[in-house]
Subunit: 120 residues, 2 copies
Amino acid sequence: MPDPRETGLALDPKYDASGLITAVATDRTTGEVLMLAHMNAEALRLTVETKEAHFWSRSRGALWKKGETSGHVLHVADIRIDCDQDAVWLIVDPAGPACHTGERSCFYRRIAGDRLVPAE
Amino acid sequence: MPDPRETGLALDPKYDASGLITAVATDRTTGEVLMLAHMNAEALRLTVETKEAHFWSRSRGALWKKGETSGHVLHVADIRIDCDQDAVWLIVDPAGPACHTGERSCFYRRIAGDRLVPAE
């Protein structure tokens, strides 16, 4: 039987045991994956309402607006949700580097066999 | 002190308590996010070695080669890893729809307020 969570148009996020879903952000212009993080229900609600990315920090155990201290806000142009509603895709215009290391994207290294190399 | 996991060129994935990292696959041509799934160490190793995406199915508790029954393999052109090495980004050429629903991407719905709408 078809699963209404997969086929329907009701927003019904499938939070995990910790109350979280996964969120991936890509750059609207370049298509580059910028970062991957997690959201609880409040982070998702705030992201939808304010069109600025909010996450849940698992290490700090706190709600977190991306860029609240750095100014490197992610302006959200579009939000998609996947088939089983346990992941969202944010299409964003970043106000600065997305990574806390200062790199544009957190994915700044390529896996080459059993080593890493700079991605560019 | 700089964390060598973040700044170095040693592959040192940070698996979670279940032995998994998150993997996101994007289409090399369109930039579209196709799917999000999880990998254990063996899935990552097989993906790197064969250049075809392998995952760990949390629901089935089994290693899973994407497309092993459907034929909709994801051919991996590039693999990136993020700053804290708990997520990988696969840049792929898909042999068919990535979603089990038959959609090209699992992210076929947009969040519009408290509802979903078809993404295209």
